[in-house]
Symmetry: C2
Subunit: 437 residues, 2 copies
């Protein structure tokens, strides 16, 4: 008999069908026994009354793979509004080991329990609430791509095996590459800029590596970045593109994954037509005045300030996202562009969303001679080194004004759902203490 | 004035518009001067008659970024059927260096010239024929995803930083991970199987690493694999899924990128409803009989045999793709499943497409105890080692019968277009001799 998915049961009331999936939960109440079966589409409730059938399940643990053939009966109390009765059971794969982690109740995500969560990740992910995180993440990726395609971006793949350290600092993984030293890409920065000369608008969703030597709630050693770059635009157009992306993704996730979001008690996102832009020093001033702290003159945002400005913007500007602009040029990377009218500032923005920086955005210096000079004086880089000369050739042979951004996929996922640690939004997180599973 | 794309010119006949892009080609014929401008949408022909305007281009090289404002005139001979006249030129970014590689003529892809091609890749990719390869590749990726989504696969990202070598042999990159040894993923194999327990059907398009110590036309050290895995299926359903994927991608590429395919003289793909399945030994027999070679009894296909069988199948079976089935169980990987009815064979297939193996497909052993046994006896693996025990836990707690495949994105791209080296289908190829650009 052809298999029917759990979510399709309600369309087969009165029919005899076969469903297949994992033993999710047993409730044995003597004469009345309910078995919940999980498949890719969700849960199905089944009622087993026949003792011989029930006997087949003796000793079987959660995760056993079963095939149930029975009659579909409408029942409002069952998930999906239908239940399977008069079930004939076939055991496809018996499981005799008791699950190391609960599969049918919300798992503990308190920070002191995360290590247990990740240690048992392979099985824990089968908990539908956990699965939901990554269904949401899959929607985010798809929505990001659709948005980019609607704007005529071309998707590309940049190499992650690179020659000796380029833009990064010390936090770089190195490896032996047939006797030479190679490094793992800390970003797709140089490649996405090169791609402006080819596609004008290009994006990649790919892995990024940072040998971050501490375990924090916002860092991993391997994570997924949405990298994008576009030519023939100015700073405000760039910010509008990022704002549009956040809005599109938010709407798409709430449309596609509302049920999963609700199991996490996720709150709808408050976003105005235009994401407000606040100058770094303006935020320092507001924060210092209202909290009694003093961040005035600091060249970065404090983590606490990122949380504070979100609350402020939510209350006063009707937005859970803020662009922090007017960053000091003295702190910028060599490939950033200065604001032509206010050269003490770089044309850079951070996107703070629900208390966390989720994207860094900037216009790039596109003039070859200025860029070479900035590389030498600001980064101490050698324009003839392998790590730079190919990159610089893109400028030598003509790049238009351009800008782009990198957005952390796990950070965005975590903030949309309300998870407090980015690792909760990574299937198999990696940090200084964890290289498994 | 708002920018109009080159491809949109024909919709603005008689209007004054601005186009922006790269100086692609100059033809200065005295009074009559044609300048071709390139933007993300293609090429536009412009006619410059005013001497003062022309003077602005003096000394400017290919790649200079220009803004042209002029009147759109219909002209059948121009690309897109329209041309820009009475042009006012604004030089956005002047380029004074002569392009190291030709941008407006087909680049030389002969094997002895590939090193030059890759050395100048950053600029060479701007050649529209080269750009076309990666537009086709972007379509392939999008088409693969749409196909998977239509079958309810969920996209996931697996880590590429792994603990000490697992399934692979010697060809693995290792790196220092905070004092421990880590390796770069040679495949997403273990993770996609784990994902069957979570999503039932899962796929990833991601980078894969192999420390291949030789330079061949079919290997790179970093490449992109389409990895997929599905539960509750049998071998024939799996092969049908792969066949459907190849058919869908082929149709999609020819629909979306026909013009680019034609610049490469790519030929439409001959594929029947069902891709033919030929046993390995049957192919050895046919090949040996017809070529005078002798591959009988060999446990793999010879590269020449892969080419030969494609010609054979094209002529006799109306197919440029072949599934090679009935591989000896003695040669299978420990996670492969034996054919229950013919245990001397593994339930594995290779997909040969236009003379090249582009995918490896197999059913996996899903029974925990059998798998542990196969791991020990066939691979000499320790079930308690980090590289295996998390993987095995997916089986310990229940996985249904499942199978999947890995398909090389660059290989598929190369064979669809007719490129003879997979590196030509990688933006920035990596091999033993090349870690740049």
């Amino acid at each position: 008999m052809t298999r029917v998915l759990n979510k399709e049961l309600a369309g087969h009331i009165g029919e005899t069908v076969t469903i297949q999936g994992w033993l999710h939960k047993k409730r044995l109440l003597g004469g009345l026994n309910f078995i919940t079966l999980r498949d890719r589409s969700g849960l199905a409730q089944t009622k087993i009354e026949d003792k011989d059938e029930l006997e087949k399940l003796r000793g079987l643990q959660t995760g056993s793979v079963l095939s149930f053939t029975g009659t579909v009966v409408a029942d409002e109390r069952a998930p999906g509004g239908a239940e399977l009765h008069d079930v004939q059971i076939e055991v496809l794969v018996p499981v005799e080991f008791e699950s190391p982690i609960e599969i049918d109740k919300p798992l503990d995500h308190k920070s002191e329990n995360l290590d247990t969560l990740f240690e048992n990740r392979v099985v824990g992910l089968r908990n539908p609430r956990e699965t939901g995180i990554f269904k949401i993440q899959a929607t985010i990726k798809e929505s990001v791509r659709q948005y980019f395609h609607s704007l005529e971006f071309t998707e590309f793949n940049s190499p992650k095996l690179l020659p000796a350290a380029t833009e990064g600092g010390a936090e770089v993984f190195t490896l032996d590459y047939f006797g030479k030293e190679a490094t793992l890409a800390q970003s797709a920065q140089f490649y996405k800029q090169m791609m402006v000369g080819v596609f004008e608008r290009a994006y990649e969703i790919g892995p990024t590596y940072r040998a971050e030597p501490s375990a924090t709630t916002r860092h991993m050693t391997e994570y997924i970045t949405v990298d994008a770059e576009m030519g023939f635009i100015d700073f405000q157009q760039l910010l509008a593109t990022v704002g549009g992306l956040l809005k599109t993704v938010t709407e798409s996730v709430w449309k596609t994954n509302e049920a999963d979001l609700k199991t996490w008690n996720a709150q709808p996102v408050l976003l105005p037509e235009q994401i407000p832009q606040l100058a770094l020093e303006e935020i320092h001033e507001l924060y210092s005045k209202q909290t009694g702290e003093n961040s005035r003159g600091e060249k970065d945002m404090r983590p606490d300030e990122e949380r504070w400005i979100t609350e402020y913007a939510k209350k006063n500007l009707g937005s859970e996202a803020v662009f922090v602009v007017k960053w000091p040029a003295s702190e910028m990377k060599f490939y950033h562009r200065k604001d032509a009218e206010n050269p003490e500032f770089a044309e850079r923005a951070d996107l703070i969303f629900r208390g966390l920086e989720i994207a860094t955005i900037s216009m790039r210096e596109h003039r070859y001679d200025v860029l070479v000079e900035q590389l030498k004086t600001m980064a101490g880089g050698d324009p003839d080194a392998d790590g730079f000369r190919y990159y610089l050739s893109a400028f030598k042979y003509g790049l238009p004004p351009h800008g782009g951004f990198g957005l952390g996929l796990e950070r965005l996922t975590a903030r949309l759902i309300g998870l407090s640690n980015v690792k909760e939004a990574s299937l198999f997180p990696r940090d200084i203490n964890r290289l498994n599973p």
